[in-house]
């Protein structure tokens, strides 16, 4: 008689939970697949019924139509400037603030920390009117600075970096102090490099969010040459009645998302590393 060996590995090969992950994946990916499908169809054909997506022929005419607009490249540049500027600014400020909250003693440290985190709770809609007015006073509308500035103080960034700096053992600082390194050198050469996984994660999140931002650019950038890609493409929608241009709308959505998808694929390894808990060893 041959008895099956009990294997603890079976316990961890749970196929039920596979389905939860799979369903999550499908929920996320189905709309993406659908929109790509729409973008590849002729608008006239879609008018008869969207089930046309499932059949040939496919066409790139919608994408061609987008690129015909001479403003697209200007909008793309604007989006790049805003997203990159915002990413660099958030990384810098969050790192400094995180270091300060994690390592330094200063008056009202706790109170300030709570106030900064409070920023997590304030919805953009609540402050957008006030912000609009303030930027008006300083004549910051329709400038890159005006688009970048409001999101520089990222509560999530400060949150994340504080956590990361706290996770670095204090002995590392002390070893560097004994190595006669200045406070700045300790921060710059010793501690900051150790937060790289957090920087990568925060950087990607910030870039994605800045790229996809809609509200503030819509309100602040009122001149067509200051539009970001999101706003610019949305503005050109008025040329088409929504029901007529479903394929064109899809192509717009896909086109506007392409850069973030590229960034994501490029940095995907780092996100996974950060998730794997690849902090300070």
């Amino acid at each position: 008689m041959k008895t099956m060996n009990y294997s603890p590995e079976h316990l961890t090969s749970n196929r039920h939970l596979f389905w939860i992950a799979a369903v999550l994946g499908v929920i996320m990916m189905a709309p993406v697949a659908w929109i790509i499908g729409l973008s590849l169809k002729d608008n006239a054909e879609l008018l008869k019924g969207t089930e046309a997506v499932f059949a040939m022929p496919y066409t790139l005419v919608n994408y061609a139509n987008i690129l015909e607009s001479s403003s697209v490249f200007g909008w793309f540049i604007n989006s790049m400037i805003v997203a990159i500027g915002q990413t660099i600014g958030v990384l810098l400020l969050s790192s400094l603030a995180g270091y300060a909250f994690a390592r330094l003693e200063f008056p009202f440290r706790k109170t300030l920390f709570i106030i900064v985190l409070f920023g997590l709770a304030v919805p953009e809609q609540a402050v957008i009117i006030a912000r609009h007015q303030m930027f008006n006073w300083f004549d910051l509308h329709n400038t890159h600075i005006g688009l970048i500035l409001p999101n520089l103080s990222s509560a999530f960034g400060v949150f994340l970096m504080t956590q990361f700096f706290r996770a670095i053992p204090k002995e590392i600082d002390e070893a560097a102090m004994l190595d006669n390194a200045s406070t700045f050198r300790i921060f710059w050469k010793v501690l900051l490099p150790l937060t790289l996984p957090a920087q990568a994660t925060l950087g990607i999140f910030t870039f994605l969010q800045a790229w996809n931002d809609y509200w503030w650019p819509l309100i602040s950038a009122t001149k067509a040459d200051m539009y970001t890609l999101t706003i610019g493409i949305a503005s050109s929608q008025t040329n088409f009645a929504q029901s007529e241009g479903l394929g064109f709308l899809g192509a717009q959505a896909v086109f506007a998302s392409l850069p973030v998808v590229i960034v994501y694929i490029f940095f995907q390894r780092h996100i996974v590393t950060a998730v794997s808990g690849g902090a300070v060893k």
Partner: protein, 366 residues
């Protein structure tokens, strides 16, 4: 390059809590001194004060003839090896060792020379391009020591550097540290709560207890002439057995004490007139006992646990009244748990502690 260290009237308070109370200590140039004590005795705090990582409430510290407690850590000319090693995780071994020299603008070829020399001494030349994450615990330890050596400091400070190593590696590293001290001849301060490390490494041991220095002496002085019951119980493995004294009788050679309910122990200790006999105990180390035939004089010990260490055997047992005593037999001992054996005690090796914990020893060397 190496220098002496003077600690003068050092006191450390956090608010109302006193962590160190008026510590005075002079460490000679080239001496290997170990701060030994239980956790919370302030030994690490004292080391960190020398390193400049803790502020000083009162007192001063001098290295050589220079007062250094007014200087930041990096300018005191000391190097420290941390318990956690505290290597910079993103730097290679070479970068870890160079960092401190780059900060004081040592020329690149001088840095290379020192790093290569230290790496050779510590046998880590093949690891110079690895980052700490790819090193074993023992290798990290060597890199941490290397980082200290290249600075050619006036004094080395070690904060329990062996406690993260396993037993075998700890023994070997201990030996290598002793050799390193011989080779460099530098002043070294070593903090530990492990009395074996203290005994084997120190020129002098500083025993700390309750925020104060309890005893300063060579390992042999500490082991053979502990000033107090605390020191006697803290140093030595297995710990010294303490037997309550019922009655003291003066003899020509010293005193004979009656151990509660178990019999008499002859000692060569002379006690003073004002000896405080209340709660007095006699202390006996395992190696000063011998298992003798039942006809000979001694105490009857019922064995509870037999610990075979290979070269010797420790017998943990109780006397008739339940007092615990640890005796030693040879590595080939045939004694089993549950048996009762007769234990004799060397008259010159016992220690008597009065009710205040103060020690009295035999005047004669064995």
């Amino acid at each position: 390059m190496s220098a002496s260290i003077s600690i003068k009237n050092i006191t450390k308070r956090y608010d109302s809590v006193t962590v160190l109370d008026d510590i005075n200590l002079h460490i000679e140039d080239g001496e290997f001194v170990v701060f030994l004590g239980p956790s919370g005795c302030g030994k690490s705090t004292l080391l960190r004060m020398i390193a400049g990582l803790e502020s000083i409430t009162e007192g001063s510290i001098e290295i050589g003839d220079k007062r250094i407690d007014t200087l930041p850590s990096g300018q005191r000319g000391v190097a420290m090896v941390f318990q956690s090693y505290a290597l910079y995780p993103h730097m290679t071994t070479r970068q870890n060792m160079s960092f401190g020299l780059e900060n004081v603008n040592v020329a690149q070829d001088e840095i290379d020379r020192r790093v290569n020399d230290a790496a050779k001494i510590l046998e880590i030349d093949h690891l110079l391009d690895r980052k700490p994450g790819r090193l074993s615990g023992g290798q990290r330890q060597r890199v941490a020591i290397g980082r200290a050596i290249v600075k050619e400091p006036k004094a080395f400070l070690f904060d329990e550097p062996l406690s993260n190593l396993d037993a075998a590696l700890r023994g070997r590293t201990r030996l290598e540290l002793a050799q390193l001290h011989q080779r460099l001849g530098s002043t070294m301060i070593f903090v530990t709560h492990d009395q074996v490390e203290a005994m084997t490494l120190a020129d002098r041991i500083v025993i700390m207890h309750k925020q104060k220095i309890e005893q300063i002496g060579t390992p042999m002085e500490i082991y053979q002439h502990p000033v107090s019951r605390f020191v006697a119980e803290f140093v030595g493995s297995p710990p010294m057995s303490m037997l309550p004294i019922n009655h003291i009788e003066n003899t020509v050679d010293g005193v004979t004490v009656e151990v509660s309910g178990a019999g008499k122990v002859v000692t060569a200790i002379t006690l003073p007139q004002d000896f405080n006999a209340k709660d007095a105990v006699i202390g006996i180390r395992a190696e000063d006992t011998a298992i003798v035939s039942p006809q000979e004089e001694g105490l009857d010990l019922t064995i509870k646990v037999v610990e075979r260490l290979g070269d010797r055997t420790l017998l943990y047992g109780t006397l008739v009244d339940g007092t615990e005593l640890i005796a030693e037999d040879t590595g080939r001992s045939k004694v089993k748990a549950g048996e009762t054996v007769r234990v004799s005690i060397s008259p010159h090796a016992a220690h008597i502690f009065d009710g205040n914990g103060l020690a009295h020893h035999s005047q004669r060397e064995v």
